[in-house]
């Protein structure tokens, strides 16, 4: 359903392709309307608007790898199609959930950095929600392990912090 609507109803401007160049040198062809969702690409296209042929433009995105971009592009594309229609928020939420459900923790972090760099705020919001959800009600040890954070407290400092509000450390999930 989604693919048929994109091919039939999209205006001519959105069918124009732009080439994005990832940090690892790969070139990815995307529709112009998708590329415009990425702040650095938008800025680049505006600066080079005198170029007659969009096809010839190559937008460098030196902070995002091809692997991440190839995850982001279909998401942004579908999300654009969804928000163009008068759909309920629930549907968008279901779509977001589906997208994030199977993301590994590492992928989550990579996408978050990319979404931040590319200025895709709606995705950033979703990713922050998911990360917060995953560390909700977890022990400090779990949070450290989950996010790969080095504990830089001395045992004394940590004990002191925990002693300040002992109740905050009760009743957390231990897994």
């Amino acid at each position: 359903m989604a693919s048929s609507s994109s091919s039939s109803s999209c205006s001519s401007s959105s069918e124009k392709k732009i080439t994005l160049k990832s940090s690892d040198g790969e070139a990815l062809n995307v529709e112009k309307n998708v590329a415009l969702e990425f702040e650095p690409a938008k800025g680049f296209l505006e600066d080079n608007s005198e170029e007659a042929d969009d096809e010839a433009i190559v937008v460098p995105l030196p902070n995002v790898s091809a692997a991440v971009l190839s995850e982001l592009i279909p998401y942004v594309k579908q999300r654009l199609e969804l928000s163009a229609k008068p759909v309920q928020k629930k549907l968008i939420k279901a779509f977001d959930d589906q997208f994030t459900r199977h993301l590994s923790d590492d992928k989550l972090g990579e996408l978050m950095l990319a979404a931040n760099y590319l200025g895709v705020n709606y995705l950033l919001d979703v990713l922050c929600d998911v990360t917060a959800d995953r560390i909700k009600n977890k022990s400090v040890e779990y949070v450290r392990e989950f996010l790969g954070i080095q504990n830089d407290f001395t045992p004394e400092e940590e004990a002191e912090l925990r002693a300040q509000c002992p109740w905050a450390f009760e009743g957390v999930d231990q897994d």
């Binding site: 972090g109 950033l124 917060a132 450290r144 392990e145 830089d152």
Partner: protein
């Protein structure tokens, strides 16, 4: 505890690459209690979560996701509010009101009463529980018309209950955290506007500034303004006692400044009553109240000795203080003598 086995071979530690702003976006989403315990994760997290603005922004984040009307107030500071009840912060639109000032403010409720009510007969309160990070809403119906806009006039927490002056010169009292939510009305002997309330010696105080039209000084000056102070002697019976009634013209300045003269010489003479406002009551001395002259000059006023003394602190003259409510000021004083000393414990050996 289950530690994931692949933890050691993580290719890239992205959380350390996140900027503070980005990391905060995640931390704001945690319910308050969890954010507190996440202080122990690492030094960076600890400093971010311990920042005084953290809680404020976290509450705002939860509020926006709660689909309530806008909660866009930057004016309140949770780290500098005075005590109301052990675990409750009152927040009324634009008024930083009451809070628990435990050094670790980690478990509390915040009550936000929106300024604009759709219905004059309905009072709405949004209550935030920091522990769960959730907002809920309560409503109370009343037969009286509520003045939805003059929250800023005078607002006081007394006996764990919020008190404010309504437009009909009565005092409304309610505790939105108590079920069922009831609105009590205390009648007052006052018969004009410019009523302020406060607490002194553990009793509710009320003051009224009035223009005495019978007075020969009734020109456009503050001299004709009278100040009355009542004390609510019997809270349950609603019995008031007039403590003081003075004319500003009878007041003598302790320092060389002639405050009344200053008011008279003010460039744009306003309504005399508007030139003087009661800022606060002294928490322990019923004879002392704090007035604000011309919207920028804070004056301590001894009603017994009939003296005025300007404070060294002056608000900027340019500052727009038109809407300065007395709720924005806290009286901070040293503990009243005798200083509370914990009782000696005598051990009688058997």
């Amino acid at each position: 505890m289950k530690i994931r086995s692949e933890g050691g071979c993580r290719s890239r530690n992205y959380i350390d690459e996140l900027s503070d702003d980005l990391l905060l976006l995640i931390l704001y989403r945690l319910p308050g209690l969890l954010a507190t315990h996440c202080k122990a994760v690492c030094k960076r997290w600890s400093s971010l979560i311990s920042d005084p603005s953290f809680m404020q922004r976290s509450i705002r984040h939860h509020y926006h996701n709660h689909n309530h009307h806008q909660f866009d107030n930057d004016k309140y500071h949770l780290n500098f509010l005075y005590q109301y009840r052990k675990d409750v912060i009152w927040h009324l639109q634009s008024i930083p009101s009451f809070a628990d000032v435990k050094p670790l403010l980690c478990s509390f409720k915040l009550v936000h009463i929106p300024k604009h009510s759709d219905n004059w007969y309905v009072l709405t309160a949004d209550i935030f529980c920091y522990e769960s990070g959730k907002w809920s809403q309560r409503r109370v119906f009343t037969r009286r018309i509520l003045n939805s806009l003059s929250w800023s006039d005078s607002l006081v927490a007394y006996r764990g209950i919020l008190h404010w002056v309504n437009c009909d010169q009565t005092i409304f009292a309610c505790d939105p955290l108590k079920k069922p939510w009831r609105l009590n009305v205390i009648d007052t002997p006052a018969d004009g506007k410019e009523i302020s309330i406060g607490v002194c010696r553990g009793k509710l105080q009320m003051s009224q500034l009035q223009l005495d039209t019978l007075n020969p000084f009734a020109d456009n000056s503050a001299k004709a303004v009278s100040l009355s102070v009542w004390e609510l002697e019997d809270y349950d019976a609603g019995k008031w006692r007039l403590e003081h009634m003075v004319y500003l013209k009878d007041m003598v300045s302790v320092n060389s400044e002639d405050y009344l003269r200053m008011i008279k010489d003010a460039r744009k003479p306003l309504d005399p009553v508007k030139m003087v406002k009661l800022l606060a009551f002294h928490p322990h001395d019923v004879d002392i109240v704090y007035l604000i002259f011309l919207k920028w000059l804070v004056v301590s006023c001894n009603l017994q000795a009939r003296t005025l003394q300007g404070s060294r602190v002056q608000l900027s003259k340019n500052e727009d203080c038109c809407s300065l409510p007395c709720g924005n000021f806290c009286s901070i004083v040293h503990s009243w003598r005798p200083t509370p000393v914990s009782p000696l414990s005598f051990k009688h050996e058997k």
